[in-house]
C-alpha cells in the first residue's frame, strides 16, 4: 500500500471528481458538495504519510513508482517525490480542502461540475509535482489547464471569456516550446524521457542556452515573470474566488518548480550564463510590479500584482545559486501559497457581501466585521513580510542569499519590504479602518463559522510556519544542497564557464 501512495494521491481525486460529476444537476447540489468535501479531506489525510514517512536525510526520490507506459518512446509512468516537491503536494491537498469550503455557498449553479473541476485539478497538480518522466510531466502540466480554463470561463466575472482564453493560449504557447525542448533532449540523450537522466546529460553551451530559453518560455509564463505576466491580473480578476486561490497558491508555484526541477539541473551552464537576465527580470518584478500594485483600485488586481512581485523573490532566490537563496525561495513559494490564497479568500468574503472589489466601496469594515478584520490584518501583515509570519522567513532568506552575491541585489530586493508594506497597509487602512463608509457597509454581517474555518486553517499555517519554519526547511535541506552541488558542476563538453 505504502509504495502506491503517490498513485492514490493522483488518481483518487480524479476518480472522486468523476463521481461528483455523476451526481448530475443542481437538484443534488448538496450531495455534490458533501461528497467533494469528504473526498478532499480524505485525500489531505492520505497525503500526511507523505510527510511523516519521508526520509529527510537523502536527496533521492522517494515513494517511487515505475511502470512501462509507451514503449516505442521509452516513456514510463514514473513518479516520486523529493524534498522539493513533497511540501508542494501537501500545500495542494490542504488548499483543495479550503477551496471546497470556500465554494460552499457562493457557487449555486452547476455545483457538481465546479467541485469536480477542483478535485480533478487537484489530482493533476499532484501529478505535475510527482512526475519523474518528462512526457508524464508534460501531460499533467497541460491537462491542468483544462479544468482551470473551465473554472474561469464558467463561474468567472463579466470579462471571463477574454481572460480565460488569454490564460490558456499564453500558457499553451510556452508549454509547446518546452515540449520541443524535451523531445530534443530525448533525441540528444540515449532515448530516455526520464527527468533524472536529463539531469546527467552532457550538453554543449549553445544547446543549453536554447533549451533554457524554451523552458523559460514555459515556466516564466507560469510564474509569471515580467514581462510575460499580463495574463495573470486578467485571469485573477475574472476567476471565481476558488479559482483565484488555486491559481495563486499552486499554479504559479509550478513555474518555480519547473525552474528548479528542469532549467537549473538540466542546463546548469546556461543557468549561470543567463543568471543576469533572470535576476534582472526578477528585480524588475519585485520593484516595478510592486509600484504597479500600489496604484490599483481593484483589490483582486492588487493581490494579483502583489503575487507577481512576490514570485519575483522566488526566481531571484533560485538564480543566486546558494542554499539561503534557494531555500528562501522554496519557503517563499509555500508561504505565498497560504498568504495569497488567504487574501483572495478575504476579497471573496467581501465580494460575496457587496459585489464589489473596488477599494473605495469599503471603509471601516472593522466596525461591522471585527473577526474578519482581524484575519485580514493578519494576512496583510504576513504579505508585507512581518517577522513571526511565514512571509518573513522566505523574504529574509532570499535577501540574505542575494546579499552574498551582490549587495545591490539585496538592496533592490529589500525595497519590496517598503513597497510591499506600503501597498498592503494602505489597502488595509482604506478598507478596514476609518469611519464606516455608508449604511451598506455598516449593515455587513461578520463572517460565519464556515468562513472562519477556511481563514482559520490558513491563519494557523501562516503563523506556524512563521514562528517555527524548521519542519518545512528540514525536509528540503538535503535535496536543495544536492541540487546546488549538481548545478555547480559544468555539463559542457569543453570549458564554458
Amino acid at each position: 500500500m505504502e509504495n502506491k501512495l503517490l498513485s492514490v494521491l493522483i488518481w483518487l481525486p480524479v476518480l472522486a471528481g468523476v463521481l461528483v460529476l455523476a451526481t448530475g444537476d443542481d437538484r443534488r447540489a448538496e450531495t455534490a458538495r458533501k461528497l467533494a468535501l469528504g473526498f478532499s479531506i480524505v485525500i489531505f489525510l492520505l497525503s500526511i504519510p507523505l510527510y511523516t514517512g519521508f526520509d529527510p536525510t537523502t536527496a533521492r526520490m522517494q515513494f517511487v513508482e515505475h511502470y512501462r507506459w509507451i514503449e516505442p518512446f521509452n516513456i514510463f509512468y514514473s513518479i516520486g517525490v523529493d524534498g522539493i516537491s513533497m511540501p508542494l503536494i501537501l500545500l495542494t491537498t490542504l488548499l483543495t480542502v479550503v477551496v471546497v469550503i470556500a465554494g460552499w455557498q457562493v457557487i449555486q449553479q452547476r455545483v457538481a461540475q465546479y467541485m469536480a473541476a477542483f478535485l480533478i485539478m487537484e489530482g493533476v497538480m499532484i501529478g505535475v509535482f510527482s512526475a519523474l518522466d518528462a512526457v508524464l510531466f508534460y501531460v499533467f502540466w497541460e491537462a491542468m489547464l483544462i479544468p482551470m480554463f473551465l473554472i474561469i470561463g464558467i463561474w468567472g466575472g463579466p470579462n471571463r471569456i477574454y481572460a480565460t482564453i488569454k490564460f490558456f493560449l499564453y500558457t499553451l504557447l510556452g508549454s509547446l516550446l518546452m515540449l520541443v525542448a524535451l523531445i530534443y533532449l530525448y533525441n540528444a540523450g540515449n532515448g530516455s524521457f526520464s527527468i533524472l537522466d536529463f539531469h546527467r546529460l552532457p550538453l554543449s553551451l549553445d544547446a543549453q542556452i536554447l533549451i533554457f530559453l524554451a523552458f523559460f518560455a514555459a515556466f516564466a509564463v507560469k510564474v509569471p515573470m515580467f514581462p510575460v505576466h499580463t495574463w495573470l491580473p486578467d485571469a485573477h480578476v475574472e476567476a471565481p474566488t476558488g479559482g483565484s486561490v488555486i491559481l495563486a497558491a499552486i499554479m504559479l508555484k509550478m513555474g518555480g518548480y519547473g525552474f528548479i526541477r528542469f532549467s537549473m539541473p538540466i542546463t546548469p551552464d546556461a543557468s549561470h550564463q543567463l543568471a543576469w537576465l533572470m535576476i534582472g527580470l526578477s528585480l524588475i518584478a519585485v520593484v516595478y510590479i510592486a509600484l504597479v500594485a500600489l496604484v490599483q483600485q481593484d483589490m483582486k488586481k492588487l493581490i494579483a500584482y502583489s503575487s507577481i512581485s512576490h514570485m519575483g523573490f522566488v526566481t531571484l532566490g533560485f538564480f543566486v545559486f546558494n542554499p539561503q537563496g534557494v531555500e528562501g525561495a522554496m519557503m517563499q513559494m509555500i508561504s505565498h501559497g497560504f498568504i495569497s490564497g488567504a487574501l483572495f479568500l478575504c476579497v471573496g468574503v467581501l465580494y460575496d457581501r457587496l459585489h464589489s472589489r473596488r477599494i473605495d466601496s469599503y471603509r471601516g469594515i472593522a466596525t461591522p466585521m471585527p473577526v474578519f478584520a482581524a484575519f485580514m490584518v493578519l494576512f496583510a501583515m504576513a504579505n508585507a513580510g512581518l517577522p513571526g509570519t511565514s512571509g518573513f522567513v522566505g523574504e529574509f532568506l532570499v535577501i540574505l542569499g542575494s546579499f552574498k552575491v551582490n549587495p545591490w541585489f539585496a538592496i533592490f530586493a529589500a525595497l519590496t519590504l517598503v513597497f510591499g508594506a506600503a501597498y498592503t497597509l494602505w489597502v488595509v487602512k482604506r478598507v478596514v479602518y476609518g469611519k464606516v463608509l455608508n449604511d451598506e457597509v455598516a449593515a455587513l454581517n461578520d463572517i460565519d463559522r464556515r468562513e472562519i474555518l477556511m481563514l482559520g486553517i490558513l491563519a494557523l499555517m501562516v503563523l506556524a510556519v512563521g514562528i517555527w519554519p524548521n519542519p518545512v526547511l528540514d525536509v528540503m535541506h538535503v535535496s536543495i544542497d544536492n541540487l546546488l552541488q549538481h548545478v555547480e558542476v559544468s555539463k559542457c563538453l569543453t570549458e564554458c564557464r
Binding site: 509507451i70 518512446f73 473551465l150 482564453i165 493560449l169 515540449l179 523531445i183 530525448y186
Partner: protein, 483 residues
C-alpha cells in the same frame, strides 16, 4: 495461369464487401420500402463488422502478393482495412436517423458507402500503380454521387460538381505522373518501380516532373494547401451524413495511397518529395488553422481543421524515417476517430428540420446536455492536441519523428501554428460551456447513436494506458511494409 496462383483468398475481404454491396442493392429494390431500410442498414453493419472480424482473425504477419503482384496482403493493409471497416460502420450508425429524417437516401447510402469502402480497401492493398488508381477511382466516384444525392439542394450539387471536376483533374495529373514513371522505367508494379527508379539519374528532368505530378495529385486528394479549395465546399455542402463518411475512412485510404506511392514506389527520391511536402505541410497547417478561425459553420470549420490535420499527417511522412511513417499512421488513425466522433455529435444534435451545423447552435449546450457537452470538450481538446487526450500523443509522435530526422525548425514552426489552431477549438468549448443557450429545443436522443458515440469518445481518452501498444503496432506494420 490457373486460378490458384491468383490467390483469390487474399482478397476475400474486398470480395465480401463488394458482393454484399450488390446483395444490398438487390435487397433494397425488392423488399418493401418500409422494411428495406432497416434490413439494408443491418446488412451493411453486419458485413462491415464481419469483414473486420475476418481480417483480425487472419491478421498477416508478413506480406503476400496476389493476382500476379497487383495486390498485396501485408500487416499494414490489414490494420488499415480493419480501421476503415469499423469507422465506416460507426458512421453508418450515426447517419441512419439523419438520412431517414431527410428521405434523401433510400439504400443507396449503404450501397455507395460499401463500394467506396471496397475502393479504400483496394487502395490499402495496392501493389501496382493500376490497382492503386482503380481503388482510388472506385472510392471517389462513390463519394461524388453520395454528395450529389441531396439533389434539391443547390449547395450540395455545387459541391459535388466542384469535387468531381477537381477530383478528375487530380486523377488525370496522377495518371500523367504515373505514365511518365512508366515511360522512364517500364515498370508499373510498385516494387519493380522502386528498384527501377534507383537506377535512373536523380537529376533526370522527366523523373523530377513525374514526382511533382504525383505529389500534386496527392496534395489534391489529401486536401493539402494550395490544393485544398474543394475541401471546405465539399464538407459544407454535402449532407452531414456524407461529410461524416468523407471525414473518417477516406483519410485512412489517403494514408495508404501516400505511403504506397511515395515510400513504396519512390523512396529513393525522398530528398525531392521531402522538400515539396515541407511546403505543403506547413502551408496546410497555417492556412487551415488561420482560416478556420473565421468560420461560423461547424462543418466548414471542421473542413479547415482537416486541412491542418492533413498537414500534420504529412509531417510524419516527410520525416522520411520508419518511425515517421509509423507516426503518420498513428496520427491518421487517431484523427479519423476524432473526426468520426465530431461529425457523430453533429448528427446526434441534428433532427428533422434542424441541421445543427452552425457554431451558434452549440451555444450553452452544457446547460441542455452536460454529457454531450463533455463529449465535445474531449474531442476538441484532443483535436487541439492538448493532453491527456489521444490527439496529443499523435502530435507528439509526429514531432518526435521530425526532431529525430533533424528537422527541428519544422517542428518548432508546426508547434507554433498549432497554438493558433487551439484558438478555434477553444472557441467551440467557449460556446458550449460559457454561453447561454439560444434555444431550448429538446435533444432527440437516438439511443444507438449515442451509445456508439460514447464508445467513440471514450476511446479518445481511455486509450491512454494502452497507447504505447497502439504506437508499437503502427510502427511494426510500417516496418514490415518498408522492408
Amino acid at each position: 495461369m490457373n486460378l490458384q496462383t491468383l490467390h483469390f483468398e487474399l482478397a476475400l475481404p474486398e470480395i465480401l464487401i463488394a458482393s454484399m454491396a450488390s446483395v444490398i442493392l438487390m435487397a433494397g429494390l425488392f423488399l418493401k420500402p418500409a422494411r428495406s431500410q432497416e434490413t439494408c442498414f443491418w446488412l451493411s453493419i453486419g458485413s462491415l463488422l464481419v469483414t473486420a472480424a475476418l481480417i483480425i482473425g487472419d491478421f498477416s504477419t508478413r506480406s503476400v502478393t496476389a493476382f500476379n503482384g497487383l495486390f498485396v496482403d501485408d500487416p499494414m493493409s490489414d490494420l488499415l482495412k480493419v480501421a476503415i471497416c469499423i469507422l465506416s460502420a460507426v458512421i453508418f450508425v450515426y447517419s441512419r436517423q439523419y438520412n431517414r429524417h431527410r428521405g434523401i437516401f433510400q439504400n443507396e447510402y449503404y450501397v455507395l458507402g460499401l463500394f467506396s469502402v471496397c475502393g479504400m480497401m483496394v487502395m490499402s492493398s495496392a501493389n501496382h500503380l493500376l490497382t492503386l488508381y482503380l481503388g482510388l477511382e472506385l472510392m471517389s466516384l462513390c463519394l461524388y454521387s453520395m454528395i450529389a444525392f441531396y439533389r434539391d439542394d443547390a449547395l450540395a450539387v455545387e459541391s459535388a460538381m466542384k469535387y468531381f471536376v477537381l477530383g478528375a483533374l487530380a486523377s488525370s495529373i496522377l495518371l500523367y505522373g504515373m505514365s511518365l514513371l512508366y515511360g522512364l522505367t517500364g515498370a508499373l508494379g510498385l516494387p519493380e518501380l522502386s528498384a527501377a527508379v534507383a537506377d535512373v539519374q536523380p537529376d533526370n528532368l522527366a523523373l523530377i516532373l513525374a514526382t511533382v505530378f504525383i505529389v500534386v495529385a496527392l496534395g489534391f486528394k489529401l486536401g493539402a494547401v494550395p490544393f485544398h479549395m474543394w475541401v471546405p465546399d465539399v464538407y459544407h455542402g454535402s449532407p452531414t451524413s456524407t461529410t461524416a463518411f468523407i471525414g473518417a475512412a477516406p483519410k485512412i485510404a489517403a494514408f495508404a495511397i501516400t505511403l504506397r506511392l511515395l515510400v513504396g514506389g519512390l523512396e529513393d527520391l525522398q530528398g525531392m518529395w521531402q522538400q515539396m511536402l515541407i511546403v505543403l505541410a506547413l502551408l496546410s497547417i497555417m492556412i487551415g488553422n488561420i482560416i478556420a478561425i473565421a468560420q461560423d459553420n461547424l462543418k466548414r470549420m471542421l473542413a479547415y481543421s482537416t486541412i491542418s490535420h492533413m498537414g500534420f499527417f504529412l509531417l510524419g511522412i516527410l520525416s522520411g524515417t520508419d518511425e515517421g511513417y509509423g507516426a503518420s499512421l498513428f496520427y491518421v488513425l487517431v484523427y479519423a476517430t476524432m473526426s468520426c466522433g465530431a461529425f457523430g455529435l453533429i448528427l446526434v444534435l441534428s433532427d428533422k428540420n434542424f441541421e445543427s451545423d452552425r457554431l451558434s447552435d452549440l451555444k450553452g449546450l452544457n446547460q441542455r446536455s452536460p454529457v454531450l457537452a463533455l463529449f465535445i470538450l474531449v474531442l476538441m481538446f484532443s483535436m487541439a492536441g492538448v493532453p491527456p487526450a489521444a490527439g496529443f500523443f499523435a502530435k507528439l509522435s509526429v514531432i518526435q519523428a521530425l526532431v529525430d530526422a533533424g528537422l527541428v525548425w519544422v517542428a518548432v514552426v508546426a508547434v507554433i501554428l498549432a497554438v493558433i489552431g487551439a484558438y478555434y477549438y477553444l472557441r467551440i468549448i467557449k460556446l458550449v460551456y460559457f454561453d447561454t443557450p439560444q434555444s431550448d429545443r429538446a435533444i432527440f436522443w437516438v439511443k444507438d447513436s449515442v451509445a456508439v458515440l460514447t464508445l467513440n469518445v471514450l476511446i479518445v481518452i481511455a486509450i491512454l494506458p494502452w497507447i504505447g501498444s497502439l504506437i508499437s503496432l503502427c510502427n511494426q506494420v510500417v516496418l514490415e511494409f518498408v522492408h
